[in-house]
């Protein structure tokens, strides 16, 4: 351990407290800070560190993001959101951004970042989704296209009841979600696709572009749906995608 991390830690211990300007530190050094070091800094210094990390485009580990966010949530104004690294946003406490303006400002940023660094059922992710729905004034399980757009990546977590009640607005978004749907979402999506409603219409009228558009939803199809799609359409389409690994690329 000493051989692997000791050197950096010793260097940081010496450097962090005495550095007037974190921006002057090399990216490698910024990359190796520990939560203990962040805990030892004042709130203002944590903010400066976060800004420096953002400016240097340093990719932090989850635990580093979590402890930076923890400290930043103490005193963060909506106007600071642009200055801190976007990766920190999913870890911030949305309760720090109450009120229509503050929550909209927070949501507009957090909806665009990769929230998948947080486990799906993690309290942090659920907290973000609930705060986002409340910020949009969503009651019940109906969301509009505008809501889905505003929720952004958070919309991937909307449960099956939302999929069933808002299929037209939600399915195209779920199709592009990077994580597989959970069982609840999967069943609701399958029912909606089988039902033939908008936006995809009945499977018997699907074309290659419908199949392209389905993306991640393809995996939820069952045999009755598959056999409803014109076979010639599916066969040609399958031949094409199986030869090109690009569909895996989009999944990743």
């Amino acid at each position: 351990r000493a051989a692997e991390t000791g050197e950096d830690t010793v260097q940081l211990d010496r450097v962090l407290p005495g550095t007037g300007d974190f921006a002057s530190l090399a990216p490698d050094l910024l990359l190796s800070f520990s939560c203990a070091e962040v805990s030892g800094l004042s709130t203002e210094r944590v903010r400066e560190l976060a800004i420096a990390v953002g400016q240097k485009n340093v990719t932090l580990q989850v635990d580093q993001l979590r402890c930076l966010a923890h400290r930043l949530s103490e005193h963060l104004a909506p106007e600071d959101l642009d200055a801190i690294p976007v990766d920190v946003l999913p870890f911030l406490n949305p309760a720090a951004f109450l009120g229509p303006q503050a929550c909209t400002s927070f949501l507009s940023r957090v909806s665009k970042v990769n929230i998948h660094v947080l486990p799906r059922k993690s309290p942090e992710r659920q907290r973000l989704l609930l705060a986002a729905l409340s910020c949009r004034g969503v009651r019940g399980s109906r969301v509009s296209q505008a809501d889905v757009q505003a929720l952004g990546n958070l919309a991937c977590d909307l449960p099956g009841s939302f999929v069933a009640d808002s299929a037209e607005a939600l399915l195209p978004w779920l199709a592009g979600c990077p994580e597989p749907l959970d069982q609840d979402q999967e069943e609701a999506a399958r029912m909606a696709l089988q039902g033939g409603g908008r936006p995809y219409g009945p499977p018997s009228r699907w074309s290659a572009s419908s199949l392209n558009a389905l993306q991640g939803l393809l995996a939820v199809l069952d045999q009755p749906i598959i056999h409803s799609i014109p076979k010639s359409v599916t066969a040609v389409w399958l031949q094409r995608v199986s030869r090109s690994p690009s569909w895996r690329g989009s999944e990743l």
């Binding site: 351990r1 692997e4 991390t5 520990s34 939560c35 203990a36 070091e37 805990s39 030892g40 580990q61 989850v62 635990d63 580093q64 979590r66 402890c67 998948h116 660094v117 486990p119 799906r120 990077p178 994580e179 597989p180 999967e186 393809l218 995996a219 939820v220 199809l221 069952d222 045999q223 598959i226 056999h227 076979k231 599916t234 066969a235 399958l238 031949q239 995608v241 199986s242 030869r243 690994p245 569909w247 895996r248």
Partner: protein, 303 residues
């Protein structure tokens, strides 16, 4: 409907390709065999099969390898790894770090922390060593794998991993592992104090010595009952009623609900009843005033 149907000879596939996408469920079950899938797993990964179809394929592979997949297949699993369960992985022998790294990449950000941890565990069981890159990858997943590491391997875990540990991550750790992790965590959190420190060290208290718990009892930490129940039994029973009361703060009332369960029951047996009475919780089973407790372990010596 439950009758097993035979595969029509003309439907028996020689290769895995997109034609299988159109097979009925029963045809996939009757016609596709595990050997073909194992040999052509790369082709399985190329066709966008549905979850239902993939589930049949997995079942076929499981049937073909009831003792677990061989390493030659594990190395080529790639995306198919996502459909495997903890139980599947626990049957594996993995000796190649390259394989571990490739599969961890597939698992990354796919809510597969438990599978990733199990994979690493299987690799370590074979005495495999983890390099820094792999440990860094592991630092991004829930550290549920800590309890399967040996004392030497625990020592190789970067200290920052300890910052992400949640109490339930250590549920399957042995006392020996907890005893190792506790001082390691103390060191990792040495620069924080007060409630922040307690919040972090809480997950590791299953390895805490009596002196540290006594120190917490004077710090208004309000330990919750779940944490209290995970304290090492031998240490817990040595704490006095006064110390436990201070340690639990408002959670002390939780002792009532746990009165008949270990470890609270064991603790009650070791306390003077008059001290327990002072708590006003109606706890029974302490040592009555004027009585001694004989350690029955010495019964044979007496006789």
């Amino acid at each position: 409907g439950t009758e097993k149907r035979a595969c029509p000879p003309e439907r028996k596939p020689q290769v895995v390709d997109e034609k299988l996408f159109f097979y009925e469920e029963w045809e996939l079950k009757a016609c596709v065999d595990g050997a073909l899938l194992a040999a052509q797993i790369d082709r399985v990964n190329r066709v966008p099969f549905t979850y239902q179809q993939l589930s049949i394929f997995k079942h076929k592979l499981d049937e073909f390898y009831p003792q677990g997949y061989p390493e030659s297949l594990i190395q080529r699993l790639s995306y198919f790894f996502r459909y495997l369960t903890l139980e599947d992985i626990q049957k594996w022998n993995v000796t190649s770090l390259e394989t571990v790294k490739n599969l961890l990449k597939v698992a990354e950000r796919k809510q597969m922390d438990a599978q990733a941890a199990a994979l690493v565990a299987r690799y370590l069981l074979g005495k495999g060593q983890l390099d820094k890159d792999t440990l860094d990858t592991l630092a991004n997943i829930r550290p549920t794998y800590l309890c399967i590491l040996s004392p030497e391997q625990l020592d190789s875990v970067p200290p920052r991993v300890l910052w992400t540990v949640e109490p339930q991550d250590l549920d399957s750790c042995s006392q020996r592992q907890l005893d190792i992790l506790y001082p390691y965590a103390r060191l990792a959190f040495q620069n924080i104090s007060g409630l922040e420190y307690f919040g972090k060290i809480k997950a590791f208290l299953g390895g805490a010595p009596k002196e540290d718990l006594q120190a917490f009892s004077g710090q208004n930490v309000s330990m919750d009952m779940a944490t209290f129940k995970k304290l090492p039994l031998e240490t817990l029973v040595q704490l006095t009623v006064d110390e436990v009361q201070k340690l639990l703060g408002p959670h002390v009332v939780g002792l009532q609900a746990e009165e008949n369960n270990s470890p609270v029951r064991d603790w009650i047996f070791r306390q003077p009843q008059e001290d327990l009475d002072r708590l006003g919780l109606g706890l029974h089973g302490g040592t009555p005033n004027g009585y001694l407790v004989l350690d029955l372990n010495f019964r044979e010596a007496f006789s």
